[in-house]
């Protein structure tokens, strides 16, 4: 019974992994990559922005969020953490 249960779970794991890495249209891989790529911006007023830093030019930062893009002054940011989830993933495994 235990062998069957473990075999089933490991089988599901390998099937899922194969689907993830070998699927032709790469939709899931792109979504996963975008999630892992997400940056976190901690503002001086206490707000936290989850998004993607598209461009950095001098004091200006172009940030993309789910609803669109906007420009943020670097002076408003307390700190920036890039690739937040990939960073966490690497530290957690």
């Amino acid at each position: 019974m235990k062998k069957f249960l473990l075999g089933f779970i490991v089988g599901m794991f390998f099937t899922g992994s194969l689907y993830f890495f070998l699927q032709p249209d790469a939709t899931v891989r792109i979504k996963m990559g975008r999630l892992l790529d997400r940056d976190t911006l901690y503002l001086k007023n206490g707000d936290v922005i989850l998004g993607w830093i598209v461009q950095e030019e001098g004091d200006k930062i172009l940030v993309e969020v789910e609803k669109g893009t906007f420009i943020l002054n670097r002076s408003e940011c307390k700190s920036i953490q890039k690739n937040t989830f990939l960073r966490y993933l690497r530290e957690l495994i």
Binding site: K2, L6, I9, S17, G33, L36, Y88, I93
Partner: protein
């Protein structure tokens, strides 16, 4: 007729589960109290006790004892099966001749209660299962990281060194967890004790891994994360550490009992195979 057996011969006849005990009992012969003894072992089909070498004991007699103070007195007609020499006297092995159904059930319940290993075995079963799931999750995360590590954003920052060998460590962790989960499917067979010890070793090895990982989480200050699901993951890791540690502690505390039961079962199988 008295049957004096060597230790090995006597052990070969232990074919039923039995527990060690020190219950007081009275031997009655021809309706009169003959002797008071302490039972050393009790099984579902017989028992044993010690007497002095000079003491007389007939081959057939009645034995009365209680399994617990103030409980029902159990009366059994006994037959001596063997008399084994021990330092300072004889160990008498007897089998039940006449036993009421009610008394038989009382004895069976008593023996089964003390040889029941389901508690510690279930604990390590669940711990090993949780560790297996954890190992699979880590391998999946490792593969995802490996995949995106080759992309532009994956190369944009470096983490701690030693990642090259980490994959091997993870695979070892998974092997230990899986082995701990499945290695004792047939614990009650001839190699049960070896398998049980192997399982315990695998579980301890996997436990060392997750303890090390949790220490590294504290050092890396991941606990200060602003993300609820990462903190939830860390709480499950803490639970896993404590649960696995508790399971190992319970098993080590029950090791004597487990060892005894596996010995008896081993002898039981050995006895059967010798007769075939």
């Amino acid at each position: 007729m008295d049957k004096l057996l060597s230790n090995k011969e006597a052990e070969g006849q232990r074919v039923f589960l039995r527990v060690q005990t020190r219950l007081p009992a009275k031997i009655f012969f021809e309706g009169r109290l003959h002797k008071k003894v302490y039972l050393t072992e009790l099984s579902t089909t017989g028992l044993s006790f010690n007497i002095k070498e000079s003491d007389y004991l007939p081959d057939l007699f009645e034995l009365r004892f209680r399994l617990r103070p103030f409980s029902k007195v159990i009366k059994i007609q006994m037959e001596v099966k063997n008399r084994r020499g021990i330092p300072g006297g004889l160990r008498i092995g007897c089998r039940f001749l006449k036993l009421s159904d009610e008394d038989k059930e009382l004895i069976n319940n008593y023996v089964c209660r003390y040889v029941d290993l389901s508690g510690p075995l279930r604990l390590i079963d669940i711990a090993a299962f949780l560790l297996s799931i954890d190992a699979l999750w880590r391998i999946l995360a490792y593969l995802v990281n490996f995949y995106y590590g080759g992309t532009e954003f994956g190369k944009s920052f470096q983490t701690s060194s030693g990642q090259d060998f980490y994959g091997i460590v993870l695979v070892l962790y998974a092997i230990f967890s899986f082995a701990a989960f499945i290695s004792t499917d047939n614990i009650f067979d001839r190699r049960g004790k070896t398998r049980f010890l192997l399982r315990l070793f695998c579980l301890v090895a996997a436990f060392v891994f997750i303890v090390t990982k949790n220490i590294s989480y504290c050092k890396l200050h991941i606990w200060h994360s602003d993300y609820l699901f990462i903190n939830a993951f860390l709480w499950t890791q803490i639970f896993l550490v404590f649960y696995t540690g508790f399971s190992i502690a319970v098993v080590i505390a029950s090791l004597k009992k487990i060892n005894l039961v596996l010995d008896i079962i081993g002898l039981h199988r050995w006895g059967l195979s010798q007769r075939m």
